[in-house]
Symmetry: C2
Subunit: 278 residues, 2 copies
């Protein structure tokens, strides 16, 4: 569709979804929450007009966010998930038998409630006995903790919104401090098509704190720019190796995908030298 509108440097293409029904519309202390029904994607969770997940394709994002670091880690037991109020990241974390404790830190309790009601297949792990829900700012939660965490996963809204405190050098330092010596960290870092400079900035900030930083991508149809990036960091091990057998049930992620998803070395170098031009 061709429409006359102003320049939007964040998302130069607007994605328009057909809506069969508005199933829920409400306002929390933090944002507007909507649940819509779409003929192709099923139910869609929308926060402040940005599509967060759809029933049909949420697994691409959640599997790729969670399982890369969870398989690179030799034995993840204590996990922090920051954001991800829909419960999808928590669901994926719980697939790993080694996991004993998940701190599920979501600032907006209303998102959890709405997801439990409308997205039971996504929020199915939220009430697991290993999960402790903390409704607070993730940056506050990690600050000054003991170093007892194996993996920290950030599943926030877009970086330009109120999630920006989760993308500062200060926050990355707090994350590092709360990790064990073998600890790992992963966060979304936007689109390589539309937000290449943001990707570079996140990588550069992580490199100030962590000895090992890496970047992997996956195409996600419902996120602006689609060529979605995840930035991962580690205190000891590299992230490209798989250290435990691939023995969980997934729809997209596999050991093959693990190896293929990382940006190839020469391309990564060109990216960080700002030599990729688009």
């Amino acid at each position: 569709m061709i429409k006359f509108f102003e320049k939007d440097p964040y998302a130069p293409i607007q994605y328009v979804y057909g809506v069969e029904k508005v199933l829920y519309k409400g306002k929390s202390d933090f944002q507007e929450i909507m649940v819509l029904e779409n003929p192709h994607f099923g139910k869609i969770l929308v926060l402040d007009d940005v599509v967060q997940i759809t029933e049909r394709d949420e697994f691409f994002y959640h599997e790729m966010l969670v399982h890369m670091v969870m398989h690179a880690h030799p034995g993840p037991r204590n996990i922090i998930v920051i954001g991800g109020g829909d419960g999808g990241a928590v669901r994926e974390v719980l697939k790993h038998d080694s996991v004993e404790k998940v701190y599920f830190v979501e600032i907006d309790e209303e998102v959890i409630n709405v997801s439990k009601k409308f997205f039971p297949s996504v929020a199915c792990g939220v009430d697991d006995r290993r999960v402790e829900i903390k409704c607070m700012d993730g940056a506050e939660f990690v600050k000054g903790r003991d170093s007892d965490i194996d993996v920290v996963i950030v599943d926030s809204t877009d970086i330009i919104g109120f999630a920006k405190s989760l993308f500062t050098v200060e926050f990355f330092k707090s994350v590092k401090d709360c990790l064990t010596d073998e600890g790992m960290f992963v966060t979304l870092s936007e689109s390589l098509h539309f937000h290449k400079d943001i990707v570079i900035e996140v990588q550069e900030a992580m490199k100030l704190i962590f000895p090992t930083v890496d970047l992997y991508t996956t195409p996600i149809a419902t996120y602006a720019g689609n060529w979605w990036t995840f930035s991962a960091a580690s205190k000891k091990h590299d992230l490209r190796s798989i250290r435990r057998p691939y023995a969980i049930n997934t729809r997209y992620y596999t050991d093959e995908i693990h190896h293929q998803a990382f940006m190839p070395p020469k391309m990564y170098e060109r990216l960080m030298q700002r030599k990729l031009q688009w």
Copy 2:
């Protein structure tokens, strides 16, 4: 953006582009042609309301369409490009020194004319002395030819439109017959997110004709479903190996990307067994 509209099984997300200026609008014998100016993408070529290329990101598609088979082939000299009236595929083909002849078979001469005027950086190879323009149906052009062609490249509009004659078993047979013993063939095959069944159908049809068929993908922001697939076939060699040094100037394609872009074997098997569920 959330809008009430009917189910569109072809593209369940509508992509809306801002338009600063309509630079050209006309009707050829085959389709409506528009050239628009967008703040992010620069000039956009639109055929029958579908975005074909944008100045900013056309190279992702054209490089990936052309250079995979051109590097898998041991020495491509005679090439047929079907469609691709913008000239982008021809431009990429001409980067290979081995190339002696390019039959550029575009059914709609008007697309070539408009592209030469508005997209000079894309159409720059169209007047090269090695290029012979044939304004006719590509399926007719390959039918009954001698077997003197090294590589056939199909750069058509979407499969659901009037390009569907380029995706039949009969056409694939004609392509095979016009290829030398080492000949290769590549075509777009739509999105793995939105058109998985079409991807499978194209692969299955190719396998009826060619001994070697493969599938590779790349994320393209401006095509519906983004996770774009290319179906490639070969009479003798596998397509995953690079048989000539990577010595051309590209912005995205490299030898690294060549190896990474192919679908991993187990995932490919699951796709073709219709076990990938989304």
